[in-house]
């Protein structure tokens, strides 16, 4: 099963640049007899696989333990998704006991709670794309204008720090800041307002989620953009200055186009992971009072599966989410290849 999956994905995932052999070559080599239509290759490629492995067994032996690891801890759970279509009994086979067809799929498609968490997930995903994604670009552009190196480095060093904090710490800090006696409420009361119990109000959850996300990721997100900015040809700036462009026009016509490929690559990655909103953070930050806005597919699945022990039902939901994720990545990648000619692989 895993091998089949892997062979299937080989063509999709393998990299045409660094993989020296086309994917269909593998079975041909293994058989050793099939007539070749492709151009001649290096001689080592024609030798039987067995002899290659015997001669170079130490290299192949390095693969063994990691492959066993991947097989057991990545591919067996993938196959374990089969229980979305089979009844799972505690103490029974991990692949389920009997086929039930699409019963669990039908169950979540008809479950209003599922569509509620689906739309919550989509809303958080869209908000992240619109608000969280552009922030590092803005910060990188502003940092790029700083001429004093020590100041730039100082801002960078400080802004990367939240990236290294455990999500438990981040949520702990959020709760302290927005608690009834926290800083945010102190500011509100100082301005004459009434204290707000942010943690217990569904209307505030998205704000808390998005703002803590910006706090934690904005600095670290600038790294790739700052790197791309150093690659922009300085001659372009000189040329645009001679043409009479001011700083703003230079930013718009020279700097931004210079980092567009980076932006597109990261945008694809973000679209692909659009539904996998910060599950661990939500799990720590939400509570039954905020489920209305906070409950997402992953947390719903968590409660259905591990709290209520409906393993098959939860797996069906998880499989659905994983397939959407895969389709989104492949789709965004294909789109970007067609539209801008750059893709992840």
């Amino acid at each position: 099963m895993p091998t089949r999956v892997a062979t299937h994905t080989h063509e999709e995932v393998h990299d045409p640049v660094t993989t020296s052999s086309p994917p269909q070559e593998l079975p041909a080599v293994a058989e050793g007899t099939r007539p070749r239509t492709s151009p001649p290759r290096r001689t080592s490629r024609r030798r039987p696989l067995g002899r290659d492995i015997r001669k170079d067994w130490r290299l192949y032996s390095l693969l063994v333990i990691p492959l066993v690891y991947l097989l057991i801890f990545k591919y067996i759970p993938m196959a374990g998704n089969i229980i979305a279509f089979r009844r799972f009994r505690a103490g029974g086979s991990m692949f389920g006991d009997e086929w039930v067809g699409l019963r669990y799929v039908q169950k979540f498609l008809e479950d209003p709670a599922f569509w509620k968490v689906f739309s919550n997930t989509a809303i958080l995903g869209v908000l992240s794309l619109i608000i969280v994604f552009p922030m590092p670009i803005i910060l990188a552009l502003l940092l790029n204008e700083v001429r004093k190196t020590w100041f730039k480095r100082f801002v960078q060093t400080v802004s990367y720090l939240p990236h290294f904090m455990s999500i438990v710490i981040v949520v702990g800090m959020v709760m302290q800041l927005v608690s009834l006696n926290g800083t945010v409420n102190s500011v509100i009361t100082a301005l004459g307002g009434d204290p707000v119990n942010f943690i217990a109000q569904a209307g505030w959850f998205r704000t808390l989620y998005i703002s803590s996300e910006v706090w934690q990721t904005v600095g670290w997100g600038t790294i790739l953009y700052l790197a791309a900015l150093t690659q922009v040809d300085t001659q372009l700036y000189e040329a645009s200055r001679i043409d009479g462009a001011n700083r703003l026009q230079q930013t718009w016509h020279v700097t931004l186009p210079g980092i567009t490929p980076t932006m597109i690559t990261l945008l694809i990655l973000n679209i692909g992971t659009f539904l996998s909103v910060g599950f661990e953070k939500i799990l720590l930050l939400y509570n039954p009072l905020t489920y209305d806005t906070a409950d997402v597919i992953a947390t719903y699945l968590f409660r259905v599966g591990l709290v209520s022990n409906n393993f098959s039902y939860a797996t069906a939901i998880g499989l659905f989410e994983a397939i959407i994720g895969l389709v989104l990545v492949l789709g965004a990648n294909a789109l970007s290849r067609r539209v801008v000619g750059s893709s992840l692989w």
Partner: protein, 290 residues
């Protein structure tokens, strides 16, 4: 002349803005440090912001006298060391093998790893697997399932690919086996990337809590992140709406939470200024298109 003046204005505004970013980034840290050194009454009155009010170190003594805190802290250290060692060994072995052009089926082996980035088993099948293997409630449920990060694997592979092949060929002529080449030529040349990987893995293992949350039931086995999690999210995780509606702060007093948070992030805060550049270089390597 006009532009240079408006540009000067921009520079001033930009500096002020960036200082604002620095302040907002640092504020939550300064706030919990201040709270950890403040009296509970001052915190409850909402008076603690940047500086301790009613200075006291008593809270530290209270937290540090809790045996469970130290047991959990020690667990975090042990888990981080063991998990990082396993991660590094597996990642290095696989990355080295798939970085060699002479490896037959190289594309397939890369594909097997990369595919798991885009499609994975999901929560429930993983949970069932760990339980079927009887790994739950043991260190192995923490250190094994997330041993290999595919991102780190690809970073290392890219690094190995850029090592000069001539060195290895010369070593092979001198009679070194592949193992010898890896241990005595490649690894000494890869200290920079190994340090980066070590840090990436160590931080992610240090910070992890979810594996412990779902697989461990024995409090004595918890990492310190779980100790903290039970403290901050104590009430918000109950299905009891009444309990959750009470402010989550009521369970454990704020200064105790603040001290626990400070003690948990302290190791990272202390080493961070010195190791930050390794992380940055790691990200840069990873961004090189594989």
């Amino acid at each position: 002349m006009r532009e240079s003046r408006s540009y000067r204005t921009f520079t001033v505004l930009n500096t002020i803005f960036l200082l604002g970013v620095v302040f907002l980034t640092m504020y939550p840290f300064l706030n919990i440090i201040a709270q950890s050194l403040s009296s509970e009454a001052a915190i409850m009155a909402g008076r603690v912001t940047l500086f301790p009010i009613g200075f006291t170190t008593e809270t530290y003594e209270v937290v540090m006298s809790d045996r469970l805190f130290w047991v959990n802290y020690k667990n975090t250290v042990v888990y981080t060391v063991v998990a990082t060692a396993i991660s590094l060994v597996l990642t290095t072995m696989y990355a080295y093998a798939i970085s060699r052009m002479r490896l037959r089926g190289r594309g397939l082996f890369i594909g097997i790893a990369v595919f798991t980035m885009f499609f994975n088993g999901g929560l429930i099948p993983n949970y069932i697997l760990i339980n079927s293997l009887n790994m739950d409630n043991s260190i192995w449920a923490i250190v094994i399932p997330n041993a290999v990060s595919i991102f780190n694997l690809l970073v290392m592979k890219a690094f190995f690919e850029n090592l000069p092949l001539e060195l290895e060929e010369a070593a092979a002529i001198d009679g070194l086996t592949t193992y010898g080449i890896l241990l005595r030529i490649v690894i000494p040349l890869s200290k920079a990337i190994l340090a980066t990987m070590l840090l990436f893995y160590a931080v992610s293992h240090w910070n992890s809590w979810f594996q412990a949350f779902i697989y461990l039931s024995d409090k004595e086995l918890f990492p310190v992140t779980m100790y903290l999690r039970n403290m901050i999210a104590g009430t918000s995780q109950t299905s009891d709406v009444a309990a959750a509606s009470a402010d989550a702060q009521n369970n454990v007093s704020s200064n105790i939470k603040a001290v626990t948070m400070v003690l948990t992030v302290l190791p990272i805060l202390c080493v961070y200024p010195f190791i930050q550049r390794y992380f940055v270089s790691g990200v840069m390597l990873g961004s090189v298109k594989q």
